[in-house]
Structure formats: C-alpha cells, structure tokens
Symmetry: C2
Subunit: 309 residues, 2 copies
C-alpha cells in the first residue's frame, strides 16, 4: 500500500462568486480539490477567516503553506495585493506576494497595463492562470481567458507584455436579462451552446466586424421574423458577442504584429469549447490550455517565491 502523498501547498482560486481550493504535492500534482460558493461577494463583515475555514474543512489542520489568487486580493477582498505593471514576469509574481493580516494566506498580485490610447486595464487571477498554462516551449503566446470579463493576453519569454479586457460575458448576461433582446428568448443560453447552428450563425455575424451594437439587434428582428427560435436567441447572441470579440482582439494583436502560432484558450470545458469552435470559424488555429491552470500557476509562483518547503 502506498503512503498517502504529502501536501506541499494549498492553493486557492478565490473569485467574486466562488472559491476553489487545491491540495498539491511536491511534484506540482493536484491531489484533491474542494469548492464552495464563498466568493468575496458572499462574505459579510470581513469574515474571510471563517470562510477560509469553511472552504478548507478537514484540510484545516494541514500545515502546508497556503497561497491564493483572484479577487480575494482586490480592494473588496481580504487584503489588497497591489497590481504589478506590465511587462510582468509571470512566475516571478511571487516576489510581491501580499499577506493577510493574520498570516493565513499569501496572495498573488494582479496585473495592470495601458492600451494604445493610454486607458488602463487590469486583471486579477488571470495572471496566475497564464503562469500555469505556459509551456516550456512557449517563446511567444497569444492567449484568451474567457469569462465575465474576457482577457486576451500577449506573453513573451514568460513575461506578460500586455492584455485587453472584453466585457463579452457580462454583456451577454445583462442583454439577455435586462434588454429587449431577452424578451424574445424563452430560456438562457443552453449548456450545449457552441455546438448548435444558432451559435455558429451568431459567430459569423459577429466576425463580420464592426457595428456590434447594430449586429446584436438581430436577436430581436430574426426572432420577430420567425427566423430564430426563441430557444436559440441566447446561443445566437452569445455567438455574435464572441465573434465580435475574436474579430476585435485579432485586430488588436495584429497592430502588435502578434499573429503567429495557435491561440491558447484557457478556462472551463464548456466555454473553451465555444471559443475553440468560434476561432475555427474565423480560420484561426486554437488549442486548449491546461486544465486547473490556476492551481499550476500558484504552484509555480509559490515555488519561485520559496514558499514551498
């Protein structure tokens, strides 16, 4: 019988709506994971220590060092971990870890950059996923991290050069829930979205480029005309917004001469499938980033910081 492997690190991906903890061994392998709906939005009166106890459960007694990334390090989180300016060495983010007041957690900083017009952009959590999804052979990488606020990132020799946020996920949600477009829909986008013809039709429309504030109105007019089923409105709209994002992000990368190599898509299964499909429609090679990229990233950052005994 094998001896159970020892925990080298407890790593927590602690976001706005949920938290996920990983027990990781000295080889960087995830042994077990636990999650809870204890995102920072759910925590009242600053009771983060209690939330951490609840999240860790039986792991509470484990003496392994603990690290966290994500919104837990924001101004609304447990301790503010100030942004690191781009270009930023991803694995080296451990040089500026913040510490919660009672020493419970080391917290990875977010990153900040400015776009060509001088407007700032920020991310928090995605820097760690990028660190985890990097491969030894990556000289230059264009990656997308889909979500409420999708991030497109340019990485070169392990350094995050710059990134751009697209509000695709949040726009989709507010349009479907609060605008006239949702009135034609009889259900939210299906979990199988990205695999049906309505999504693909939407992507084509979004990829056509400029004028997304015109393009989305089709969710109403196609439905009124009987050319889009109420059940497909969500999938179609999701396709338009993702197609538009891909069009705009590729134009952004092109202005930086960053057009070589497949685009790495980093995130959960369902949304990654959607993006890989849409990128395929755009004629762009895409590949999946490592699953549990956040856990891998925290391990690398903790290692470099000398946090792992």
């Amino acid at each position: 019988m094998n001896e159970p492997r020892r925990t080298a690190l407890i790593a927590i991906d602690w976001g706005t709506t949920s938290a996920r903890a990983y027990r990781i061994d000295a080889a960087g392998e995830v042994l077990t994971a636990r999650s809870a709906p204890l995102g920072i939005q759910a925590i009242r009166d600053g009771r983060f220590a209690d939330a951490l106890d609840a999240l860790l459960g039986e792991w509470r007694a484990d003496p392994a060092p603990r690290i966290a990334c994500g919104m837990i390090g924001s101004r609304q989180g447990w301790i503010e971990a100030p942004y690191v300016d781009c270009p930023a060495d991803l694995a080296g983010l451990g040089r500026t870890l913040a510490r919660t007041p009672g020493g419970e957690l080391a917290v990875v900083p977010g990153a900040r950059c400015r776009d060509a017009a001088g407007v700032p952009d920020v991310l928090r959590g995605e820097e760690t996923q990028l660190a985890g999804a990097l491969l030894p052979e990556d000289e230059r990488l264009l990656a997308v991290l889909p979500g409420t606020h999708c991030k497109w990132a340019r990485v070169e020799r392990g350094r995050l050069l710059e990134f751009a946020t697209f509000m695709t996920g949040e726009l989709f949600a507010v349009l479907l829930e609060h605008s006239i477009l949702g009135r034609m829909s009889d259900r939210p986008a299906a979990p199988t979205a990205g695999e049906g013809p309505a999504f693909a039709r939407g992507v084509s429309r979004g990829l056509a480029g400029d004028g997304v504030t015109h393009a989305i109105f089709g969710a109403r007019t196609l439905a009124l005309a009987g050319e889009l089923a109420p059940a497909d409105v969500g999938d179609w709209l999701s396709g338009v917004l993702i197609g538009h994002e891909i069009h705009a992000a590729r134009a952004w990368a092109a202005t930086r001469d960053h057009t070589t190599g497949p685009i790495r898509v980093i995130g959960g299964d369902a949304i990654v499938r959607r993006y890989v499909g849409a990128l395929g429609q755009a004629g762009v090679a895409a590949e999946r980033g490592a699953a549990d990229a956040a856990a891998r990233g925290m391990f690398r950052i903790a290692q470099r910081a000398g946090l792992i005994h």
Copy 2:
C-alpha cells in the same frame, strides 16, 4: 381679433413610454400640442380608447381626422399596421394606413429592410419623422434618429432605401444600471452631457473603431485609476457608445457609396446636441432636422392619403 384657426388634423406620436398629440391647421402648422405618459406599455387590458380620450382632453369634440404613428401600430399596440418593405415611398406610406377597430385612428405602418447579411431590421415611428424632416431639395439624404434604438437611414428622392438600428440608448441604460460599469458612477448621465470634456473623451475612444466591448471597460478602469470622476462615468460611456455608432454607421454608409452631404440629426434638443457634437469630432458635417418632425410627417402622409378634408 383673429378667428382661431381651424384644426385640419389631429396627429399623435404614440410610443412605448409616452404619447404626444398635435393639433395642426390646413397649412400644416402645429397650433397646440399635448402629451401624457400614456405610452403603450402603460395601457392595461387594451383600454386604448380610454387612453386616447385622456390624451386628447378638450380636443375630444374636435371633428378633425386623426392619425397616429409609432408603437401604437405594433403587435403590442392598438392595431397592428404591417411593415412596408424598403425601398418605401415615405409620403406615400398613407396608402397603407391601418384603422383601429372603432375607426378612431388611422395608423401609419412601420418599415422593414434586410441588411447585407440578410438579417431583417425594423422601425416604427421613425419613417414618419423622416417624412417630416425631408426637404424639397433633398436628392439624397443620410439621417440619424437617436434614441433607445438609434436608426440610421438612407433616403433617395423621397424613398427610404434602407436603414440600420444601433442599440446605443438601450445599451447605455442597461450598462449603467445593471453592469459593473455603473458601480463606478454616482449619478446617471447629466442633462448637459455632450457639452463636457468627459463626453468628448468618450467619443474619441468610440470613434477609434472596433472593439467597443473592450472600449467600454474603460468606464471602470479609468474610474479605478482616478482618471475619470464618478460623476463623469455616464457622460464618458455615452460618448464611447455614440462614437462607436458613428464609426460603424459611417462604414455602413460607405459600403453603399453614401458619403456625400451633411448628416441630418432628427430628434429632441438634448440628444441632437450630443450627436451633432460627436459628428463634429468625427470631422463630419451635421445639421438639425426640423423640430416636431413626427407632426410634420403625419401631416404630409395624411395629405397624400386624402385624409385631410
């Protein structure tokens, strides 16, 4: 003492949230106007006749013919006035007026077209404003009618060739009210918006073109960075969305070789000022359409329909 001029037509611009009635003389001049918050959304159990009585008040006894335009002619209105397909003769829309069941009102139809991708687009009410804002010397006209759903329209020799809807107004409202962008704002866009530097900065960002779903995120990051005052978030965001609309609509018009002449902006004072300013920033000549364009349009349509005795 002059004899009070006789009413030749009672014309009602009856929309989703409000209704406005005009008493017009035989020369087409508006004598008086009345309005009420009796848009079709406010009317329960199909009690349109009661709403009409309330709106008309003391005009109820006036025997002049009555015409209406706007959402009152939609499926959710009093009587559905089917869409006329583009190209559509604007003054000639009176050939297909609908009639309410009790004969209370003649109702102007909306218009329908398809864009280059074959996606349908619709408008209702704006066809009448266009008919009213046309000048005898207009050979060819590019017009914008700002609002919840902004319409850009191409008119040639009195015929509405095609149009495109941009959801600018509704997007602004849902983003400010329901998205993370609104959290940085401490008040809605001021009535003086379009006259301050925050609006102009937003317009510049929107005019830069593609990627509006990235550009709008600046409402959060600029505010976080202390580079946009909470009171200015709404004006800035309005500028970005209007700038983007102008960029996209001009590209749309250019694909039709429709780029000559000033753009006519048709609508209420405050929003027209905003668009004229933004068009100026884009280096495009703009001019104001007639005030009360809807009343003028209904007069012309009624005249052509032989409705005026």
